[in-house]
Subunit: 222 residues, 2 copies
């Protein structure tokens, strides 16, 4: 099993049993989502920007407008922290203190690189669309040069990375288990609702059934 070496930044110190450093756990968490929060600094001050991402092998990618302040800052080679969080349950204990959340999170640190080669950039964007919606790329109007130029794609090598996971029921103080207080978990998940057609569809245009198979990005059907 491949594992990441914990560093002072990635080692989970408190509640260290929640820390995971194996590639399989990290990849599974990343592959079950598509929104990350990217942290970076401008003139020493921290910013946290939500954006979509995708993973290929040992790299995490994200993208956006070439005019984006976040992307222009990060492509210049500043340190950043990318965090992905999935909430799995509310955990209700018998005391306020032991209330908690079940979650899966990944934090990774490093510097990102810009995909400069247009062919490579196009391939990365194809991978992104195909990851979200398998089969869609070839059904779309092709990307043109202007759009490709207006898009920045960044990637970060996963090196300094860890996962933190809480699962299971509340953990109460021994003596509190004798109290007649309801305790348990309320599961939480992100779901996709029924697709809504755009108002300007060409008559007769059908939606591919594949478009609503979203479990691989953490979305079940409602």
């Amino acid at each position: 099993m491949n594992t990441f070496v914990p560093t002072t930044r990635t080692r989970v110190k408190r509640l260290h049993k929640r820390g995971h450093y194996d590639e399989a756990t990290v990849h599974a968490i990343l592959d079950a989502g598509f929104i990350c929060h990217v942290g970076y600094t401008i003139e020493g001050l921290p910013y946290v920007t939500p954006t979509s991402y995708w993973r290929e092998g040992s790299r995490v990618y994200w993208h956006g407008s070439s005019a984006s302040r976040m992307l222009r800052t990060i492509e210049a080679g500043v340190d950043c922290c990318v965090t992905v969080t999935h909430l799995d349950a509310l955990v209700l204990a018998r005391s306020g203190f032991h209330h908690s959340l079940n979650y899966r999170a990944v934090m990774m640190f490093g510097r990102a690189h810009k995909v400069e080669d247009p062919v490579e950039k196009l391939a990365a964007l194809e991978a992104f669309v195909e990851r979200m919606f398998p089969g869609r790329w070839n059904a779309l109007r092709p990307v043109n040069c202007k759009e490709l130029k207006a898009t920045t794609v960044l990637w970060m090598e996963m090196k300094e990375v860890s996962a933190k996971v809480r699962t299971g029921p509340p953990v109460d103080d021994d003596e509190d288990y004798a109290l007649p207080i309801w305790a348990g978990v309320i599961p939480v998940r992100q779901v996709a609702g029924a697709p809504e057609d755009d108002g300007r569809l060409v008559a007769g245009t059908k939606r591919s059934a594949k478009l609503t198979k979203l479990e691989h990005i953490g979305l079940r059907r409602r």
Copy 2:
């Protein structure tokens, strides 16, 4: 209508129509969630930590173990950025370029303060539990001094803050509307499943129906 004054950090420059600076929009987004991502720096390097939060008036609070690196760093008075993001839909356009997400996000900047007074701290924790689960605080085993000491509560005044919101259908290039490509939105929401009793409940312990009314924190029942 109260509004926040945009600064160089909070003014939404690209897609500026998505920027909102009125208190009502900011408060509504904050009040529809309970997980934020807190950005801060340690020795100049950025960190992004997910944690729960709550709002009272013009303050946003978060909390955790007094031993938490994130809380110890921030209580020392460093600049931070708190971001709250709700995903509302996947937006599928006729070109890859115009694919998007519908979302509501708030970013706020500033320094946080620690609640030092124990009475005030207890009141803040009560407000947190009551915001999540109205009526629960008084049903719980009371907080003790050790627990109160082991908990740090921070708050930040909302001053430098903005919201960014995308809603509605895809916006395609004029000529692309003639293409027979399916386009539209797939709504996304976070839902709560059926509560699961803790395995060690005292026989006969009932769950209050109120505990599953979670719409106010952005969770519908599945």
